[in-house]
């Protein structure tokens, strides 16, 4: 099982790092889309500066995956980007296009890796979590994440 996870992780990192880097240092022509709405979304993202944020997240998360640093954080951090890529490639570019294959591949790798690291995300699903600021002190009566979950 771990070999499949390693394969997906290497492929995903090998995809995300050049895709993120490409915005800051051009390696290949950036796909702009071939539908009016996908081109409009891409242009608006680019002009507003949001595309730089997206590509920075892609690059940083890809590097984190490749070098093995805070991998569960990288996977959750890049999930909104993967979703947006999938949405752009499928809904905006067309469900039965070559773009859609890329979209499914990107979100598929991200979700598969999230599932592989599922244990790290269990505490997200605590039904009745109790808030406590780290600097407020008196944590003794708050209980742990797992206690709150019980």
């Amino acid at each position: 099982m771990q070999y499949a996870v390693w394969f997906v992780r290497l492929v995903y990192a090998g995809w995300m790092i050049p895709a993120g880097l490409n915005h800051f240092y051009q390696l290949y022509p950036q796909p702009l889309g071939n539908q009016p709405i996908s081109i409009a979304v891409f242009t608006a993202l680019l002009d507003s500066g949001l595309f730089t944020v997206v590509k920075a997240v892609e690059l940083v998360a890809g590097v984190m995956l490749l070098v093995g640093w805070r991998v569960p954080l990288a996977l959750i951090m890049v999930l909104p980007v993967s979703f947006t890529v999938w949405y752009w490639d499928t809904e905006l570019q067309g469900w039965w296009t070559a773009s859609a294959i890329y979209g499914w591949a990107v979100v598929g790798c991200n979700v598969a890796l999230l599932l592989a690291y599922w244990d790290n995300y269990r505490d997200f699903f605590t039904r009745h979590a109790r808030p406590h600021l780290p600097w407020a002190g008196g944590a003794g009566d708050e209980g742990s994440a797992m206690e709150a979950q019980a």
Binding site: F7, D47, G68
Partner: protein, 216 residues
């Protein structure tokens, strides 16, 4: 302090539910003011997001997340899901629209989301940990050297046995093959260049393992 945080959670949730519901069903709350963007770039961006359906996705995340905050259900998940939406909203309000009031509101929502995430910090421990495994073990991995990713692909001095490197090289070669034969255009080449890094780490690790085996 917990009571203050509970109030903040409920207020934030209520604001998000009301504003999102107003976006989906404006006839429900005709008294709510409409927002027109003054900056052409901001207007174009929001217009395109509306037409493409991306704004509906964002609003749905805020609606569902806000409801979960009010109901006090899976709050850490709701906060994590809403954070990217608030970051994008703050970016548009501050850097694109540049309106002081809108920017203050967007930053206040972002700050409230961030503060509540801090208050639920123990629930994010699983994603914030940093250890020799890279923050956690994936399905099928074990803490034994050579049986988890970092011990082969990230740390050439992990002490993994030489036979583990054979499996590592097989996986690495499969990924290289994938970029060579399956991924078209420059994406294949750039993917292979990127994977040169773990390839070098594997090679150095294997040499270390063989030297250690010879020394033993």
């Amino acid at each position: 302090m917990t009571r203050v945080l509970d109030i903040l959670r409920i207020v934030l949730g209520a604001i998000l539910v009301i504003t999102s519901l107003d976006w989906f069903m404006p006839f429900l709350m005709p008294f709510m003011p409409d927002r027109d963007f003054a900056d052409p770039m901001a207007a174009q961006l929001v217009g395109v997001f509306t037409t493409s359906g991306l704004l509906a996705v964002a609003k749905f995340i805020l609606l569902a997340g806000g409801a979960l905050l009010v109901l006090d259900r899976v709050v850490p998940l709701a906060l994590a899901a809403m954070m990217p939406v608030h970051v994008c909203a703050a970016h548009i309000a501050v850097f694109v629209e540049g309106d002081a009031l809108l920017a203050a509101l967007a930053l206040a929502l972002l700050a409230a989301n961030g503060l509540l995430m801090l208050a639920y910090l123990p629930h994010y421990k699983g994603v914030l940990e940093s250890d020799r495994h890279g923050g956690g073990l994936a399905d099928g991995e074990s803490a034994t050297e050579g049986d988890y990713y970092n011990s082969l692909f990230a740390n050439p001095f992990s002490g993994a046995p030489a036979k583990s490197y054979l499996a590592g090289f097989a996986v690495w070669a499969a990924a290289m093959w994938f970029f060579w034969y399956v991924v078209p255009f420059t994406n294949g080449t750039t993917g292979m260049v990127t994977l040169a890094y773990p390839g070098v780490i594997l090679l150095v690790g294997l040499v270390n393992a063989l030297r250690k085996g010879t020394a033993d």
